[in-house]
């Protein structure tokens, strides 16, 4: 752990940018057809629950990252294995985000450029940022959030003005009943993007006002969920469902449809700016967590030194995880959701919380035998410091 503090506002922005990151790129929840927005909203509610689980763990161990408290909960050996699995998971996810970024740029704009070049540039930038530490990352996010917000507002304005929104495309709501929507939620949107917020368990200990963690996290998830749902609703109403299922980057197609006053058209650059900024932060957060987690697990004192080797590993991983775009997306939206996200985002954290709960209850019941348990507990804490 480096000695750093981030403010509540910075955490909010980081979570929002993280959630939007690659979720804005790909057609999420499109299995639910025109009810994709609903699947996202239900996923968001699930995200609230998951966040409460992570927050529960945090409230038991507010000063140490999960790689450390897993050892306290499960014992040194099992806990270390678990922490190692999580670190690998974070590394894999940052490689995925990097690949998303490269694929997006190549498919739509740089079709002659090799994937390696684009990914290298992004990886170098991320390595540099992570070496600078979480405070720098948080401050950068504050700056760029304003930009992304203004861009978003102006795109929304242009879409509305150009009159391409056809609300009727969103109807009929629940054409096939609620079942496909729930299925999409529990096989996809719950984990990607909302469950991925588990990464913030690594970052929560840095917050300068621990009492605000719960409120800020829930607010940020709600805010980003609303944005994602409305973006997907706009995509569907502009493009029609059939066109989205065939389009690798629906938001790009939507923005390309804008034609205002005969000259405001071909605004692809908006899409590039929004997604590159989002993807950058998502990758930074993932990568930061992997670096800090590795350092914590293997007792490396200067975690920044790990940035380069790990960054290189992620760069190579990002190119080798899939041999083509379909494979990459299929893995991301259908395979790893069930085999990686479900156990690592839902099952294990819940188990950990349960064990932590029981352990702490035992502790408490021991304390309650004393006459002034609370006071004594506090004194002990103070002595430690």
């Amino acid at each position: 752990m480096e000695k750093a503090k981030i403010s509540a506002y910075q955490l909010f922005i980081l979570i929002v940018l993280f959630e939007l990151g690659s979720a804005l790129l790909v057609p999420i929840a499109i299995e639910a057809k025109q009810d994709a927005w609903l699947a996202i909203l239900i996923g968001m509610v699930g995200g609230f629950c998951l966040y409460l689980v992570y927050h529960g763990l945090y409230s038991y161990y507010p000063d140490i990252p999960p790689t450390e408290y897993s050892q306290k909960i499960m014992g040194s050996f099992l806990g270390k294995i678990l922490a190692f699995i999580y670190v690998l998971y974070f590394i894999y996810l940052s490689a995925r985000v990097l690949r998303d970024f490269g694929e997006m740029l190549i498919t739509s704009f740089y079709w002659d450029t090799p994937l390696f070049i684009l990914n290298t540039l992004m990886a170098l930038l991320v390595i540099y940022t992570v070496r600078k530490g979480i405070e720098v990352l948080a401050r950068t996010s504050e700056l760029l959030f304003v930009l992304i917000f203004l861009l978003g507002i102006s795109v929304l304005f242009l879409i509305v003005v150009s009159g391409i929104i056809q609300i009727s495309n969103l109807k009929p709501v629940l054409e096939e009943g609620i079942k496909p929507v729930l299925k999409t939620t529990f096989t996809q949107t719950l984990y990607f993007p909302f469950g991925e917020v588990i990464i913030f368990a690594m970052i929560l200990p840095y917050l300068n006002r621990p009492e605000k963690v719960k409120q800020i996290g829930l607010l940020a998830i709600g805010f980003s969920g609303l944005i994602l749902a409305s973006v997907m609703a706009i995509n569907v109403s502009v493009l029609d469902v059939n066109n989205i299922t065939r389009s690798p980057f629906p938001l790009l197609s939507t923005i390309q449809t804008i034609e205002v006053a005969g000259f405001l058209e071909r605004l692809d650059v908006y899409f590039i700016l929004i997604t590159v900024i989002g993807v950058f932060f998502k990758m930074c957060v993932f990568f930061y967590a992997s670096v800090v987690g590795t350092a914590n697990l293997f007792n490396v004192k200067e975690s920044a030194r790990l940035a380069f080797p790990l960054g290189l590993a992620i760069l190579i991983l990002s190119i080798t995880i899939a041999s083509n775009y379909s494979e990459h997306i299929k893995e991301g939206l259908h395979v790893i959701t069930l085999y990686l996200h479900l156990p690592l985002q839902v099952i294990i954290p819940s188990l950990l919380l349960l064990i932590a709960f029981i352990k702490n209850k035992k502790k408490k019941s021991k304390h309650s035998k004393n006459l002034f348990p609370k006071r004594k507990y506090r004194l002990v804490e103070r002595d430690k410091k």
């Binding site: 498919t107 740089y110 002659d112 450029t113 540039l121 009929p172």
Partner: protein, 405 residues
């Protein structure tokens, strides 16, 4: 100090790598395509025609030099078994890299659309990230698609601009054609409850004359291209052409009329009054209580009187009410004619199927597969029109009323 120099050097070298020049193409290496056309020849091969802009000649006559000597566009044709193959063959005829980013028009020949359909040719356009989904699509009526691109035009120097501009203006001012882009075509092709409509364009005069620059060096052009009706598709194949009021009916039911004229006849005298619709709203709703859905088209139109050719007393509100009633009847008649003819074509271009789907998804599932052939032709369609006359221009009664009989 030494350290700083190394840093500066590194920063400067990094600009070489991060300036994004991997894909760079200079403007003078590009051939800018303004329009593309697809025909099919006797051997069954696709013929692709591309219209390239000559930037120097577009810039204008004032600069002198080459303009006037050579035309604003140059056209190349190439053949192939698929659209993309034809495109590859075209590259061997042009010295520069073909650039699609500004292509704004795709012309498809009537013959190809009728015999083979447009389903097989659009994927290459949709897939290429350089081609915009907002490119307009047009069907060449009574002419080859390629010829439409070869004819030079006045006022708009680039023929593609002329085609797009004409369709845009016709849609806004008369409502007899419709701007349809690539995305609309693909969306309607994939939708079970809506069929495709594409505007037509035709060539008047001799194409050999039209290719020459002398054609536009006269006040009245020998060869012109003009907007010409709507092509009606069924499952990707062209089945009918609508003209005039018939095509306006389609645009009207699709709620795309922005301005149009309705002419009123009375017994004994035709064309007594011209009513210009300035605002209108058309809503389509479906009642699915019975086995066969009942569709209702509600039109609400507002407008002015623009021409009077008889002694109507426009100062009398009751007279205005009468005229409104007659106008409603006239519009209703026209829309019903369009609906009947379309039902005979068995092609649901109005998207009635989509309306049914939205109001009753379960019933729609049963009807979906034979919607066009079984259900749509037998639908009962009610047309309800409300027309309002708001003003009558700079005069109340016509001077005809003051003339002695």
């Amino acid at each position: 100090m030494n350290h700083n120099w190394i840093l500066l050097f590194l920063i400067m070298t990094s600009t070489v790598f991060i300036s994004g020049c991997w894909n760079q193409k200079e403007l003078n290496e590009l051939a800018i395509i303004s329009a593309m056309a697809i025909d099919k020849n006797e051997d069954g091969k696709y013929v692709k025609t591309i219209q390239l802009v000559n930037p120097v000649n577009v810039a204008g006559g004032l600069q002198g030099g080459g303009s006037g000597q050579s035309p604003t566009v140059t056209v190349y044709t190439a053949m192939g078994d698929s659209v993309l193959e034809a495109h590859f063959h075209a590259t061997s005829k042009v010295s520069r890299r073909l650039y699609h980013g500004h292509a704004n028009l795709i012309v498809i020949s009537e013959e190809l659309a009728t015999e083979e359909g447009i389903i097989d040719i659009l994927d290459a356009f949709e897939r290429d990230p350089e081609i915009r989904m907002t490119s307009r699509v047009v069907i060449a009526h009574h002419t080859k698609a390629g010829d439409l691109l070869k004819s030079l035009t006045a006022i708009d120097k680039i023929p593609a601009e002329k085609v797009n501009g004409t369709i845009h203006t016709t849609e806004r001012a008369r409502g007899e054609s419709m701007e349809v882009n690539l995305q609309d075509v693909v969306t309607t092709l994939t939708s079970a409850g809506k069929e495709t409509v594409i505007s037509g364009f035709s060539l008047k005069g001799d194409i050999q004359q039209g290719k020459k620059i002398e054609n536009i060096q006269q006040s009245e052009l020998d060869t012109t291209i003009e907007s010409d009706g709507l092509a009606i598709f069924k499952e990707g194949k062209l089945v009918d052409w609508y003209q005039g009021e018939m095509s306006r009916g389609v645009v009207w039911i699709l709620d795309k009329i922005q301005q149009t004229d309705v002419i009123l006849d009375r017994e004994g005298q035709e064309n007594i009054l011209t009513y210009t619709v300035l605002r209108q709203k058309t809503r389509v709703s479906a009642d699915t209580t019975n086995d066969l859905p009942v569709l209702t088209v509600r039109v609400r139109a507002e407008g002015d009187i623009r021409e009077v050719r008889s002694q109507i007393d426009l100062t009398d509100p009751y007279e205005i009410l009468d005229i409104e009633k007659e106008l409603e009847k006239e519009i209703k008649k026209q829309l019903e004619n369009t609906v009947i003819r379309t039902q005979q074509n068995k092609s649901d271009i109005f998207g009635f199927g989509e309306v049914v789907r939205r109001s009753d998804p379960k019933k729609w599932k049963k009807m979906k597969n034979d919607w066009n052939d079984t259900y749509f032709p037998n639908l009962k369609v009610n047309v309800k029109v409300e027309a309002f006359i708001r003003r009558s221009g700079n005069r109340t009664n016509s001077y005809l009323s003051d003339m002695e009989q």
